[in-house]
């Protein structure tokens, strides 16, 4: 055996997978076609965003790398939805496209048990439905106990601009020509997906005077809970907001048939993401809209490349020139890189277990875009889970399965394996039923215990976490135990801040529950020196108690359905009276619980009722 684990691919999923296996003490090989592309950000120059930013925090809580590496590489960071409730706040950073991969590579290289190899994997060694390593394009065989595929968009990738199509991956990199066919031969259902990326513009050719400036947060903030990389707020680089106009739309409408997706190419099979339409899609679908928002995002402090967010297209280059020059401030813009669309193969993700191990081939795991997702954060989250679970299996332990009420990563994986994908899957706040439980601020409280249990959070970090928990409890108790009574000017103070008078004594904790009372008002009665993150937890639990309890109750209901098991050997053909689509989906996914079955698309409540009755009758299962 050459290695314990081989990770194929060095993107965000691959990095997390390789690091977690190596850090857990397993001899790991990361194979990538180009070492210089490790940790690459081929699309937008940002990490985080709503929901995704929370995933980065979860990765950090579990002991992954993305949060720390983003902190190390950011050129601007802010809190989204800052003025709204705590459930939906999330961090987003503009990450330097030069620094991020460089920092990641440095970390990989300095990690014990981890070897990096530059090579193209084209096949797997499989014996008796169990993976035993990989086969390179030169027929070299490397053996291992487990393999994690994180091939991104490189499976039979093809890049499309206008009516041209090239068989290559992002940056003109070589693609894998045979791996997806070989997976198909092993019995996998392969789907074809599509995504796109907009133009890069030379900074000096843009007139920023007409654009609105978008700044980072005026406060120091970090993805990582405990590994703060210092930075200077004043050195943050701004983004800019501009709009399309009628002229832009005219150009697009006049040239619509030249776009690859609108007839420029007639052999497109890939399904593009709904949430990420190209600019021509937007203009066709929302024809009454007079303008569309575009962001100018700096890609790096080391170069002049500006990412034109919102302008992704598959128009030919000469039309792209016209389109870009129609934008206010970009009349003389120099396009450094044209927008393109990319098509690639992926595995239909209902073929995976909750652990991200494939159902067909034992010890084979997949993570990231190969599973039909989109986004660096979604990829990293899966990579981490696949790495942890491959390691746990080698150690003879149960896999780490995050539930929907525990983590966005749990929602993501649960959605993938139960619902499959039609277009590249992006995590959204609205995909989570219990988002008030899945906050950015409490990701460590939710997940660090698991991180420590699986061995990615060392004792020192774990002790810090326990201390934090202790302090939260202590402050909460202090507020509950300190009572004030309507004497000594208490009522006068309360009235002066627009609150109502007391008639009896009240604990500060209960006083804080009043909507007009903030923690600053409480400081009038008691000294509070605890760190902001401690105070924040107490305040959120206090202010949103009713809603939190409501979601906890809902989650309990879900977990109850989750505890109703479905036997492995169930024959759905014997369950009469379920709709044929439901039967087919149940056979495909083979859910392990009634709860899981109820989330499969195409399985409706009546089918669940019938299935429950059947289980009760056949297996005496309550």
């Amino acid at each position: 055996m050459d290695y314990e684990v081989i990770v194929v691919g060095g993107g965000h999923a691959g990095c997390e997978a390789a690091l977690s296996c190596a850090r857990k003490g397993h001899k790991t090989l990361l194979v990538t076609a180009n070492i210089n592309n490790i940790g690459d950000m081929p699309c937008n120059p940002s990490i985080g965003g709503s929901a995704k930013g929370i995933v980065v925090r979860e990765i950090d809580a579990l002991g992954g790398e993305m949060g720390i590496n983003a902190d190390r590489s950011q050129i601007q960071i802010k809190v989204l939805n800052d003025a709204k409730g705590p459930a939906i706040r999330a961090l987003r950073a503009q990450a330097d496209k030069v620094d991020y991969p460089a920092n990641m590579l440095k970390t990989l290289k300095s990690t014990k048990n981890l070897t990096i190899k530059e090579a193209m994997v084209e096949n797997l060694i499989v014996d008796d439905n169990k993976v035993g390593g990989v086969i390179l394009e030169n027929e070299e065989r490397i053996t291992s106990k487990a393999v994690i595929l994180t091939t991104g968009t490189y499976l039979k990738a093809s890049i499309m601009v206008g009516s041209t199509r090239k068989s290559e991956g992002p940056h003109g990199e070589r693609r894998s020509n045979h791996l997806s066919d070989n997976l198909k031969k092993l019995g996998f259902k392969i789907i074809r997906l599509k995504t796109g990326t907009p133009q890069r513009i030379a900074k000096e050719s843009i007139d920023f005077s007409k654009a609105k400036v978008e700044l980072g947060s005026p406060k120091n903030i970090y993805f990582s809970f405990d590994h703060h990389v210092p930075y200077n707020i004043d050195e943050q680089i701004p983004c800019h907001l501009i709009y399309t106009n009628e002229k832009t739309h005219e150009i697009i409408r006049a040239n619509l048939n030249k776009a690859s997706m609108y007839g420029g190419l007639d052999d497109i099979e890939g399904v593009g993401p709904r949430y990420c339409p190209s600019i021509e899609d937007k203009i066709v679908r929302f024809s009454d809209k007079e303008r569309h928002q575009l962001f100018l995002e700096p890609e790096s402090k080391y170069n002049n490349s500006i990412y034109l967010q919102g302008f992704s297209t598959s128009m030919p280059n000469e039309i792209q020139e016209k389109m870009v020059h129609s934008l206010v401030g970009l009349e003389n813009a120099k396009i450094l890189k044209y927008a393109y669309a990319i098509e690639y193969d992926a595995i239909y993700p209902t073929q995976l277990n909750k652990s991200l191990e494939t159902k067909l081939i034992e010890n084979l795991y997949t993570a990231g875009q190969i599973n039909g997702t989109s986004g660096y954060e979604e990829a990293a989250g899966q990579g981490l889970i696949a790495g942890i679970n491959a390691s746990l299996k080698l150690e003879g332990k149960e896999p780490l399965i995050l539930k929907r009420n525990e983590a966005y990563i749990g929602v993501l994986i649960d959605d993938l394996i139960n619902k499959g994908v039609k277009d590249p899957y992006r995590l959204l706040t609205s995909r989570a039923e219990y988002r008030l439980l899945l906050r950015s601020d409490n990701a460590d409280l939710r997940l660090r215990e698991y991180g420590h249990e699986v061995g990615l959070i060392d004792d020192e970090r774990y002790q810090n976490f326990l201390d934090k928990k202790e302090k939260i409890k202590a402050l909460e108790n202090k507020l509950k135990e300190t009572r004030i009574t309507p004497i000594n000017g208490v009522n006068e103070y309360l009235e002066s801040i627009g609150s109502t008078k007391l008639r009896d004594g009240i604990s500060l904790y209960d006083l804080l529950k009043r909507s007009e009372i903030s923690i600053e008002h409480i400081k009038h009665f008691i000294e509070i020196n605890e760190a902001d993150e401690i105070v924040e937890q107490v305040v959120i639990n206090n202010k949103y108690e009713g809603y939190i309890k409501k979601e906890e109750k809902e989650a309990e209901k879900m977990l109850k359905l989750e505890s109703k098991g479905i036997p492995d050997n169930i024959d759905y053909n014997k369950v009469k009276n379920i709709a044929s689509e439901a039967r087919q989906k149940l056979n495909e996914v083979r859910p392990t619980t009634i709860g899981q079955a109820s989330r499969i698309s195409g399985v409706n409540p009546a089918d669940i009722a019938v299935l429950s009755v059947y289980l009760k009758k056949e297996y005496n299962n309550d």
Partner: protein
């Protein structure tokens, strides 16, 4: 649901023809065993003339309809046997079916199968249950309307509104930097939930009215002895000779009869004279009367025109003051001694049979029975009423807190409402919200 069920489905009226319905995988095979023609090779949705036989003895001359899955009410194979021979023969046919492998259906089991097999949604299922139980013509019409999904459509419309709101809030959350997508304001929320509130209240109100139609109106005739309760009861019932049922008992017990008024049943309950108990037996009668007052939906309080208010009259007036009450002043043919000024008072003479039309008019007016006739399309059962009330409570809470809580918290409440309404019509929301998001908003990289 592998067994085949059978039942007599003639609840809608006792006619010359009864229908025995059989549903399940073996439906055709079982009926074939007791029918003198071959049904096994019959095409779906065909009718066959023949005889039901038992050991070569002809039981009845029948028409048999063969309907094969899935285009049937239950989505299973269904056979219907139209019999002619009255109750006894029909029972014999059912018995034969049961002997040959069918199982007697539980009440509502056909409907349940239709629901479980995805043929109908929950509200429709309940509508059909009402249809089975409905007695008067209007009830049946009403039940049929509901089968068409009127309540479902109403609730579906409300859910669409909520879902749009939720989707817009979702977009605001997930795409905070898109400034040209309208931010949902508390005002928007208030406007929508006020509309939803009024619609739900309307459903409750109409449902309440229609439950009158379906279940009848519990009416109690009250009065001290000798004011003429019994003659008024008789006067009302004589109008509708067809449906009088007497419940056996002593003279002190409650007498019940039913009266059809604009299609609504008044269930008339007479009481033993309510007055201070003078012996044990009367005490029982009085307790019973007080209980009746509590349950009654309409009180007809009879007073005597020819005498002044007695202490007992006053007590009855007091006991019933918060109820739907019509005061009937009887014996207008005699000299007026009574001095009373109350709402909803009518005058009649039971002996001369005058004033009856006025009384009926009053009842019709009090319960809007006129409007019920023309617009009866809402009915939800007790369980759903509780759900709608829960929604109304949440809306109330949102309105109270709307200025002190963030929109995304209100969103949690909106989702709960959406869920509850969804459970009424048996739909889960799942991907619906995301679909709404992507259908209505323009976003992307």
């Amino acid at each position: 649901m592998e067994d085949t069920i059978a039942a007599i489905s003639t609840a809608l009226g006792v006619g010359a023809i009864s229908i025995v319905r059989v549903s399940g995988v073996d439906a055709i095979e079982i009926v074939n065993k007791i029918f003198d023609q071959d049904l096994l090779s019959a095409e779906t949705h065909t009718i066959h003339y023949g005889h039901i036989i038992d050991n070569n003895e002809i039981i009845d001359e029948v028409l048999v309809s063969i309907m094969k899955a899935p285009r049937t009410f239950t989505y299973e194979d269904v056979v219907e046997i139209n019999t002619h021979g009255g109750i006894a023969t029909t029972n014999k046919v059912l018995e034969l079916l049961l002997l040959n492998g069918a199982r007697l259906a539980e009440p509502g089991e056909f409907t349940k199968r239709a629901f479980l097999n995805g043929r109908i949604d929950l509200v429709e299922a309940e509508g059909i249950m009402n249809l089975i139980e409905a007695k008067s013509d209007i009830s049946r019409k009403l039940a049929l309307k509901q089968v068409n999904g009127v309540v479902s459509n109403n609730i579906r419309e409300l859910r669409e509104k909520i879902m749009k709101l939720i989707a817009n809030i979702a977009v605001n959350i997930d795409y905070p930097e898109y400034e040209d997508i309208l931010e949902v304001t508390t005002k928007d929320v208030e406007k929508e939930i006020t509309y939803i509130e009024s619609k739900l209240n309307e459903i409750l109100k109409q449902s309440n009215e229609t439950s009158l139609v379906l279940e009848g109106l519990k009416t109690v005739i009250l009065g001290r002895p000798n004011v003429g309760k019994s003659s008024i009861l008789n006067m009302l019932l004589n109008e509708e000779k067809a449906i009088v049922t007497d419940i056996a008992g002593t003279t002190r017990d409650v007498v019940e009869g039913t009266l059809n008024l604009n299609g609504v049943y008044l269930k008339l309950l007479d009481t033993a004279g309510v007055h201070e108990a003078s012996d044990k037996v009367e005490e029982i009668g009085i307790n019973k009367s007080l209980g009746l007052i509590k349950d009654a939906e309409l009180i007809l309080l009879v007073l005597d025109n020819s005498s002044k208010l007695t202490a007992e009259d006053k007590r009855l007036l007091e006991l019933t003051k918060d109820k739907n009450r019509i005061i009937i002043i009887n014996k207008v043919d005699l000299n007026k001694e009574l001095d009373l000024n109350e709402e909803n008072t009518i005058y009649l003479s039971a002996i001369n049979k005058t004033g009856l039309e006025e009384l009926k008019k009053k009842i019709v007016e009090m319960f809007n029975l006129d409007s019920i006739n023309t617009d009866m399309n809402m009915f939800v059962n007790a369980d759903d009423i509780a759900k709608i009330k829960r929604c109304l409570n949440i809306i109330d809470k949102i309105k109270k807190n709307i200025n002190s809580i963030e929109i995304d918290m209100i969103d949690i409440d909106l989702r709960e409402i959406n869920d509850i309404l969804g459970s009424i019509i048996g739909e889960s929301y799942d991907e619906e919200i995301l679909d709404t998001v992507f259908k209505n908003f323009c976003l992307g990289k």
